[in-house]
Amino acid sequence: MNYILYLPLFMIIFPIVGALITGIASEDNDRLRNPLAVIVSIISAAAMILILHEYVQNGGWELLLHQIAPGLEIKFRVDPLAALFGGTAAILWSFSVLYSTGYMAHEHKRRRYFIFYLLSLGMTMGIALSANLLTLYIFYEFLTIFTYPLVIHEENDEAKKAGIKYIIYSFFGAGLILIGLIITYGNLGTLEFVRGGIVDLSTGSLLLWQITFICFILGFGVKAAVMPLHAWLPAAMAAPTPVSALLHAVAVVKSGVFGILRSMYSIFGITALIGLQMGYFVAALVSITILVASIIAMQQDVLKRRLAFSTISQLGYITLGAGLFNVIGLTGGLLHIINHALLKITLFFCAGAIITVTGKKKISELNGLGKRMPLTMVAFTIASIGMIGIPPVNGFISKWYLIQGSLESGAWIFIVVLIGSALLNAAYFLPIVISAFFKKGEFSSVEGPEAPLSMLLPILILVAGCLIVGTNLQLTVPYLENIANYLFYSGGN
């Protein structure tokens, strides 16, 4: 009996149990809680790596937990997309927990924070590893609930408002997903994620399927922050920075994108998608998101809000890649899941380090910070360059694939969108770097310590990761091309 095959279940249960164990430590007992939390997250990441290893060696497997009714199952599966999202999230989670131990040192309610931080990990793994829409939906809802205490952590008015906004938006989206789910189940009697899709357009009217598709896109689009439904994300920046970093740049928003990918390529499948003729709808929606979010980002003075709008814009790249309906474009989108996760988490960590060390939240107050926190700002600079899409850093490569994908689909207009967005990125990231390094400010004379090691270490490792992933493409590109090819399979299962 191969126990590795039970690991997907372990990936979900263990963080929950771990959260419970972490909860043993009383509020003030950081010396017990911090190591526990870090260990739990590292064990989860290690388990995820084992799953990845097993997957690469012997292929995927399924795990049927419970059958509610025929076609309605609680079921997990390791397949390429699950491996991609789960692997990215689990590994970044461990860095993020380590970072949290440093960041949260001076915050209140640390016990609650860490419990829910780890609970969210379990739910994210559930989303990643689910084998059908029902399982995904359940964990998706739980993720909203478990991240709510993190969003309102500050417990001031701003945070509570943000929390309400977050809950309402998320449940609205989940409601749309539920509608889509019911229509799908009603027509097909199954919700399974199947390579090549389960939807047969001949089983219902085209209009019905188009509505279902829109339900899925907009429903998952809430978490993916597609433009009219994005407002919760900037508001949720009231949360502590590690939460913003992980949940709102990696896990929560990427679970939305993951849902879009799943519904597009595992529920509908490429044949049905082309039959639906909704590709340009998605791409147009997302193009608007990319440009408008970048434009709004330029007007923000609070660093985290600027990063939030940048996230909205960059998530659009992923969805755009999915909406181009060709392998190269999809590869670009999938690449951007990894690349954006690495870059944005680095940027958020830097922002958090700045807040911890100097207490400054606004960009206009950062003049001369380069002398005060050189390592952090160098990391910030590198990640910014990656965001713009300038070669040595990893953001470039996804942009390159997206450009090729746009050309492949014959729509050169998306190149204009991508390049325009890159220029806007330059226009809102470079001034931060310039003012930090070259402007004279109140920091310039003050020498002081950098951020604590528990915060600096994740920043440096991640920025090194950005450079390594950016310069060693054989680490990512072949696998992601395989995943894209896997998703594009149209021959039925």
Partner: protein, 665 residues
């Protein structure tokens, strides 16, 4: 038949400065450490580039490939003689500027940062010509753009920041243009190698046309062609002198190099297509296209030349004058490229003129900027109206400036003469090819530009060096040793180049043409060309006389007091463009702002409604409203957690015990 040799040398040339950069950043405040590593870094590059010479002079090509690093294809180096030529000029002048900078930077702040980024910029700049495919080229190009930004804003004055902003954002814009163009070429051709692309012969579609245009814009921004030059007169003067020397002498050549590669190499048919009796239709169409593009580029070059001269005549600041002169001189180079494209298969003369002028301009312009640096270092003054009589006070600098100036005006036996003569031949050849009358005018404009060049250099020499000083100057020190070495070596090189134009032409300039698709007859003609015809010297004499006349008239009428009319100045046009951009911005963003506000208002309204509704629900009898907001901190979550976790564990244990179906796919 040329061989492809695999060698680490290009990689070493690029990484030497990178290593030195890292070492200098480690200990930026240690003077001997950073000086030593700066020199070692640039010397290492020079040696690595120089060691490629034997293999390349035999007509071989050096290649090196690092699989799947950085670019979706490979990081490749491909060094033909043109690459070597540009890289050699770059690294040699860089070394001289570094030597100069060691003394010069004494009076500046933050020297560690300067030297570190000086090295980083070298890595990018030398990588541009050595790169073997367009994406690798882009990588180095961006490195050069971003790293040199730090040099531009080194003084950290407001002027430097505004210049730096234009420099940076135009640079990023150019980089994105290049990226798009490269993406289009890759999509259409499936290859990015910097060589004659086979797919061009199969027909240039709209994508490829757009790609060519975008690449021309991207490289043109760096080269400073009009109207993309607006950053140049701002950015070059504000940098410290060694950096200005390299910005003006070397880095704009990276743009010119890119244009050469794009227009006269990538968009031309391979020479194997030219062997038959009749040309295939695709080949003919391609030549036709290139020829049309060439005609446009000739005029862009002419306009750039004239515009630069006009700007330079009106400058009062030495470094600004030199920067505007750079625009004008890059116009010569662009015009030469245009002629080469216009004449297509017979375009050897234009191409040789351009490459030769790249060499000459690199030498004299960087020397002049360094000399300007020496002047500001010793006198603290750059304004022509306040300087004077430097020939007695700084005899060494005077001699160097004189050599460089005589070179730039194209006096025989000085180094600009040969290349300008070649370029003049080229434009005449272009006219005689089809007898297009407009090119006849172009040739006349060429002469006028040369006269203008003479005029503003007479102005420069007269005001700064010859006339009696208008104000009493304080006692002036002599040039420090390192400055003298840097300037002296450059001046000696220029004298050598000026005295032996044929040697340079046959040994260095003509071999650069070997990888281009050119008629062997016209290349051989270049090998035997003589520079000492009366006609050529006569052309220079006309320019000199005209220029002297201009100068005399201007001097008599006090025309130099004239300022640029404000509505022609770059600042005014820039601010106009800026205001226009803001207006456009407001118009574009207005609907979005409106939409945003609308959404915010409606959502707030909906929240209010929903929560009034929720609050009106009486949850507990006997109390009015309890639902103020969701507040989890009041709930004992630990309890819930314990229950939840245990129930989940129980379920899991139950299922593991009694059966979870696990099956492999």
């Amino acid at each position: 038949m040329p061989q492809e040799l695999v060698s680490y040398l290009p990689l070493i040339a690029v990484t030497m400065p990178l290593i030195a950069f890292i070492l200098v950043t480690c200990l930026p405040n240690l003077a001997w450490w950073r000086s030593a590593w700066s020199i070692i870094g640039s010397l290492g590059t020079l040696v690595a580039v120089g060691m490629m010479f034997p293999a390349l002079s035999e007509g071989n090509i050096i290649v090196f490939q690092m699989p799947m690093i950085v670019t979706p294809l490979d990081l490749t180096f491909r060094v033909d003689f043109l690459s070597f030529y540009i890289a050699a000029i770059t690294s040699f002048i860089w070394l001289m500027a570094t030597i100069f900078a060691i003394d010069y930077m004494n009076h500046e702040h933050n020297q560690g940062r300067f030297f570190a980024f000086f090295l980083l910029t070298l890595s990018g700049t030398v990588g541009v010509p050595l790169a073997g495919d367009l994406l690798s080229l882009l990588l180095f190009f961006e490195l050069m753009s971003l790293a040199s930004y730090v040099l531009v804003i080194h003084t950290q004055t407001d002027e430097a920041y505004s210049a730096g902003n234009i420099y940076l954002y135009l640079g990023v814009f150019g980089g994105m243009c290049l990226l798009t163009g490269i993406g289009l070429i890759y999509f259409s051709c499936g290859s990015l190698e910097i060589t004659q692309q086979l797919c061009m012969v199969e027909g240039v579609n709209n994508y490829l046309l757009a790609a060519g245009l975008l690449m021309f814009i991207g490289f043109g921004i760096k080269a400073g062609i009009v109207p993309l030059h607006i950053w140049l007169p701002k950015a070059h003067p504000v940098a410290p002198a060694p950096a200005s020397a390299l910005l003006s002498g070397i880095m704009i050549k990276a743009g010119a190099y890119g244009i050469i590669r794009t227009v006269t190499m990538i968009y031309t048919p391979d020479s194997s297509f030219m062997s038959g009796e009749y040309l295939a239709a695709g080949v003919k169409n391609l030549w036709h296209l290139v020829s049309n593009a060439g005609y446009a580029i000739i005029w862009i070059g002419i306009v750039t030349m004239l515009f630069g001269v006009c700007l330079a005549l009106l400058q009062d600041n030495i470094k600004k004058l030199l920067a505007c002169s750079s625009i004008s001189q890059i116009g010569y180079i662009i015009m030469g490229i245009g002629v080469a494209a216009y004449l297509g298969y017979d375009g050897a003369m234009g191409l040789a003129g351009s490459t030769y002028h790249i060499l000459n301009h690199a030498f004299f312009k960087s020397t002049l900027f360094l000399a300007a640096g020496a002047i500001v270092y010793l006198t603290g003054e750059l304004n022509l109206s306040k300087l004077g009589d430097l020939r007695h006070k700084l005899p060494f600098t005077t001699i160097v400036v004189l050599i460089a100036s005589l070179g730039i005006v194209g006096l025989p036996l000085f180094n600009g003469y040969a290349s300008k003569t070649l370029l003049h031949h080229a434009i005449v050849e272009a006219y005689e090819h089809h007898h297009v009358y407009s090119l006849y005018i172009a040739e006349k404009l060429f002469t006028i530009t040369s006269a203008g060049t003479v005029c503003y250099f007479l102005k420069f020499l007269f005001f700064a060096f010859w006339r009696p000083a208008p104000v009493e100057m304080p006692e002036i020190k002599q040039e420090p040793l390192m400055m003298k070495i840097g300037l002296g070596v450059l001046a000696a090189c220029m004298l050598f180049i000026g005295f032996s134009p044929n040697l340079i032409l046959t040994k260095f300039v003509v071999p650069t043409l070997s990888t281009f698709t050119l008629d062997t007859y016209s290349v051989n003609y270049l090998m035997k060309i003589s520079f000492w015809h009366l006609g050529d010297i006569w052309a220079v004499a006309i320019a000199l006389v005209l220029g002297g006349l201009f100068f005399y008239i201007a001097q008599r009428t006090n025309a130099y007091r004239l300022k640029i009319p404000f509505w022609l100045g770059a600042d005014f046009i820039g601010s106009l463009a800026g205001r226009l951009a803001i207006i456009v911005w407001i118009i574009i963003s207005f609907p979005f702002t409106l939409l945003q506000n609308l959404m915010r208002t409606t959502s707030q309204y909906i929240y209010k409604k929903v929560f009034t509704l929720l609050q009106s629900v009486d949850y507990r009898p006997g109390q009015k409203t309890i639902f103020r907001s969701i507040n989890i901190s009041n709930i004992d979550f630990d309890m819930i957690l314990v229950l939840l976790s245990f129930s989940i564990i129980l379920i899991v244990v139950f299922y593991i015990r009694f059966g979870i179906d696990v099956f492999r796919l």
